[in-house]
Amino acid sequence: MDDFRANGNQKEARAFWIGVLARASLKELRAALSLAQVELPTVDVVKAAETGTLMLEARAGGGGQRFNTGEATMTRCVVRYGETLGFSYALGRDKDKAMLAATLDCLLQDEERRGHVMSKVIQPLADLQRRKRETESRRAAATKVEFFTMVRGD
């Protein structure tokens, strides 16, 4: 049970950093790495960064029958560092970012290095993404409207 839960948490943590890396731009990623002074290991490329498509599914009415609403470009990459495989998946066509993110996925699986990379790279990027989203939301909230229905004078 404990193993299963530990495993589950690890998956959750990994899904979190893969998501943060996917949403970051190459520029943001490089800036965060240089600020954190993270030394990147030399990795073997298992599957070179490749761009393809992902079919996006949606649901009729939002919650009903599934349908295909169109595709999106997506890039994936697999690298190896020692025994560890690092993956990256992200929307878009940035192959340099895919390579960098896969390398970071390797580092983040290394328990000795995870703490530093998490706190100095992933967390700041996640904060940036959250702040950006919150700003958008507060700007939208400023356009919240109250319409009043006029009473007909008859």
Partner: protein
């Protein structure tokens, strides 16, 4: 029928150069950049992504630059590029309920949980030219920000009424089956809702708008309410086989429209509101609304309404709504049809010759009789 032709290489090479020059326009005017198009022509790139059926804002911007702003030609470039890419899989069904909302309105309910959010819209502009844009461009130094962000998730408006049983339910069929994919298997008729929605989602905005308008004007008898329109960012989730668990791989902007239509009802079903659904890439409200109206009109068969009007006839709508197929078939008429036309010419000449011979013969016979 189009028959392949040979030759013309020099002329074709010259026309490629000429179109490149025409695209560039006056060389003393700075060239437009793909990033500028992506950032400043977002509604145009959204249309290209929708009709090209491929979400990629950079590619859509490049397509618009390459096609001199011709949305249909740009969508064609997207479709052509798509065919060169491998398919990595399908996303988890997108959850528009968890959208990071930037705009959300209902024309049916004034006070809805979460509120009415106008967002960035031209709805309340006066459609007067802003000549400052022609000069230096006017950007407000600061836009208003509310103290609090919006609610993290807001209920979809039709679901509010659905709780009372007054709204046609949108539920997944038994077993929640994977949808049909018209990019893999040609559409079959009668088409399922999944096929219809996929074809409408990539359909031509103008064509669907015209059909939706026809429905409103009486050629279909649905006068809908915009139950809800929402626009914002949604996460794309995917479960790669090699990982074995679900991950988010980024966000996309979507516009969703829920149309509420007048009640139907039969001996078995009490009167209730019926629904039409529209979903489009980017901020594409006109497209999402048109799609939702046409989605509802195509449910005519399900509600036993007959299919008396164009917008209710699914083969008519679905076979003719695709921008690329329609423009391909109409525009192929420009290509050399010399052999065909030569054949037609020969035929007409022959028929006329025979007709003249018959006339001459008849006249000769008449003269013979009179003499």
């Amino acid at each position: 029928m189009y028959v392949a032709v040979k030759g013309g290489e020099t002329a074709i090479a010259a026309t490629h150069d000429l179109v490149a020059q025409a695209r560039r326009g006056n060389p003393y005017v700075p060239e437009i950049g793909v990033k500028q198009i992506r950032e400043q022509m977002k509604l145009a790139t959204a249309r290209v992504m929708n009709e090209g059926s491929l979400y990629d804002e950079d590619l859509a911007a490049l397509a618009l630059k390459q096609s001199q702003g011709d949305a249909v030609e740009a969508a064609f470039l997207m479709r052509a590029y798509r065919t060169t890419l491998p398919r990595f899989g399908s996303s988890q069904p997108i959850d528009t309920g968890a959208m990071a909302i930037r705009r959300r309105i209902s024309a049916a309910f004034k006070d809805l949980p979460g509120g009415q959010i106008l967002g960035p819209t031209y709805d309340y502009t006066h459609r007067l030219f802003d000549f400052t844009l022609a000069a230096d461009g006017h950007v407000p130094a600061q836009v208003a920000e509310a103290a609090q962000p919006l609610d993290v998730s807001m209920p979809r408006v039709p679901d509010i009424l659905g709780d009372e049983g007054l709204m046609e339910a949108e539920v997944a069929p038994q077993g929640d089956p994977a949808p049909t994919d018209i990019t893999r298997d040609p559409a079959e008729f009668p088409a399922g809702r999944d096929t219809r929605l996929q074809m409408l989602a990539r359909g031509d905005e103008g064509f669907l708008l015209g059909l939706a308008y026809s429905v409103q004007r009486g050629f279909g008898g649905n006068h809908p309410f915009a139950g809800e329109i929402r626009m914002g960012e949604v996460a794309v989730s995917f479960c790669p086989e090699e990982l074995g668990f679900e991950i988010e791989i980024g966000d996309i902007t979507l516009t969703e429209c829920q149309m509420i239509n007048q009640f139907t009802g039969s001996s078995d079903v009490p009167p209730q509101f019926t629904r039409g659904y529209g979903l489009a890439f980017g901020q594409s409200e006109r497209k999402a609304m048109s799609m939702a109206i046409v989605d509802r009109s195509l449910k005519a068969r399900d509600f036993g309404e007959g299919a008396s009007y164009p917008a209710q006839q699914e083969e008519f709508v679905l076979y003719h709504c695709d921008t690329i197929e329609a423009s391909g078939f109409v525009e192929h008429l420009k290509l050399p049809h010399y052999v065909d036309f030569q054949g037609e010419l020969e035929l007409i000449r022959k028929i006329r010759r025979e007709q003249e011979e018959r006339r001459a013969k008849a006249a000769a016979t008449r003269e013979g009789v009179e003499a």
